[in-house]
Amino acid sequence: MRSAFLLDLAQCIGCEACTIACRVGNELPQGVRYIQISERIRGEFPDLVGGFDNHRCYHCTDAACVNVCPSGALFQEDGLTRVNWDACTGCEYCVSSCPYDVPVMNDGVATKCDGCRDTVNAGGTPWCVETCPSDALQFGPREEIVAEAHRRVDRIRDKYPEAQVYGESQAGGLGVLVVSPEDPARMGLPAAPEVPTAAAVWQEAVKPASFFVTTLAAVGAGVLGVIARRNHLRELAHLHGDGGGEESGGEHGHGGGDGALPGGGDGPDPHGAAAAEGPGSADPVRTDDEVER
């Protein structure tokens, strides 16, 4: 089942109960917050409009963080973006790539809201939703949440003519449907949060292709190498009448030059170098005089 949150910014009263419940419920360390509330005042005095921004993970379907995560520490489940902290390598790619600037580093590991995975799996409700006193937050099947978001927008449209649902289509559809009383851009929400093209290209096409090509090359080289090496040994035997050993050190030339190149003269060597050499003259080990010296 694809789950989602409802975040009704027209209902939010900025009490920060969700922030505190999230920190306590998830036992977050000092300094780490998955939700940040900030007051936003727009317009000019005396025509001021107040509201609260609710900065949190929006659980993108086309999630940049999941795409760039090299270790699978970030993954998707039930329509939400989860985190396996143990698998995080601390590369910080997710921190840099998130269009909402959500993941943060804590003790060398990336962290962010995981939709209260354990709590929900145990039959509970995410801490922020459980605590919200103004009915600004809900959690449930995404279809129901989308429908509820549209109902709420319809209800407030008289008061907020620009009200709209944010998150239905952005980044493949968000796991947080926002009831925005104004143009979402003015609420600090990007109109088109997307996975960087290069990240998508890498994850979807280049990475699997690279693994395929590299594996094929390694296996192919292994098989072809056996054949090619055999061919080369045969060639050396044809040219020199032996294994022509070099690396082995023991196949060729031991016992001096005599007889080392019995096949000289009839080989296919076009350069005439080895082929022109006759037996005994081809492998010029030192003379007795030189050895004595």
Binding site: E92, S97, T197, A218, E246, P268, H271
Partner: protein, 269 residues
């Protein structure tokens, strides 16, 4: 001298020679008789040590980078230790070009020049490289110090290494200042160039094993027969540069050659 005496003295000398050659402890001559086989100096000690540094650092970079690309191995990267090792190895990899210039400036310049200079034989060689890949070198167009495949390999390594180093330094030093797209492109370039280098390395190891060339980099010497078969034009250059005639003077000792006295410079070709 009896044959037994020759063999005993050669064995003693060869054992010392080989170890000293590998470690680069003794003065090296352009032509050596190693384990009874005439060999030509192909790589000077500085070149071999730089190659070793590059091989070791690249292997470590590959092994510590793989957990970030292949999820079954990602547990190895937990805690960020592989990232630290990756960066230590990266420093070694980065040190290769300046170190090469420091220990063997001529060799580095020669490598750069050869990698991007191709003559007609090289083009013909490349057109026929399938035959070489299948283990047959005798029918190939004559090659110089490097065959065209090696030239192309080195050229690609230089270009790809620039890409992998540039993107790697970007991810290391300025990742926090990049936009989403810039970061994603840096990761893509880094992964792609590293992957291409891995493919080139597979090819490098393939040809090394097929043509039994491990010992060439290990000792710095190539057997005369292999050189004549695979690099005939280089052998000619080698003979001219070092004033030796490998075929006409079977007993030619480098000791007798005045040009061999300048051991530190190694072979001239």
């Amino acid at each position: 001298m009896t044959e037994t005496t020759v063999e005993r003295e050669q064995t003693t000398e060869e054992t010392v020679d080989r170890r000293a050659l590998v470690l680069g402890k003794r003065t090296l001559r352009p032509v050596e008789v190693i384990e009874g086989e005439v060999k030509l100096q192909r790589y000077r000690p500085g070149q071999r040590y730089v190659h070793l540094l590059m091989a070791v650092s690249f292997t470590v970079l590959f092994l510590t980078g793989l957990p970030l690309l292949w999820e079954p191995l990602s547990f190895l990267a937990e805690g960020g230790y592989t990232r630290i090792i990756h960066r230590v190895a990266a420093v070694g990899f980065l040190a290769v070009p300046p170190l090469y210039l420091l220990v063997d400036r001529e060799g580095a310049k020669e490598l750069l020049r050869d990698s991007f200079t191709y003559d007609r034989d090289d083009v013909r060689w490349l057109l026929n490289m399938g035959r070489y890949a299948l283990g047959s070198a005798s029918q190939m167009p004559p090659a110089g110090r490097l065959n065209a495949g090696q030239k192309l390999h080195h050229a690609l390594v230089l270009i790809l290494a620039a890409g992998v180093v540039g993107s790697g330094l970007t991810l290391w030093i300025v990742a926090g200042d990049l936009t989403d797209a810039q970061l994603a492109w840096s990761v893509l370039v880094h992964n792609l160039t590293a992957g291409a280098l891995v493919l080139l390395t597979i090819g490098h190891v393939y040809f090394t094993l097929v043509y039994r060339a491990v010992d060439r980099m290990h000792t710095g010497y190539i057997s005369k027969h292999a050189a004549e078969l695979e690099y005939p034009k280089w052998v000619e250059e080698f003979e001219q540069a070092n004033g030796v005639s490998l075929n006409d003077a079977p007993g030619q000792s480098p000791d007798e050659d005045p040009s061999a006295a300048d051991d530190d410079e190694g072979p001239r070709a």
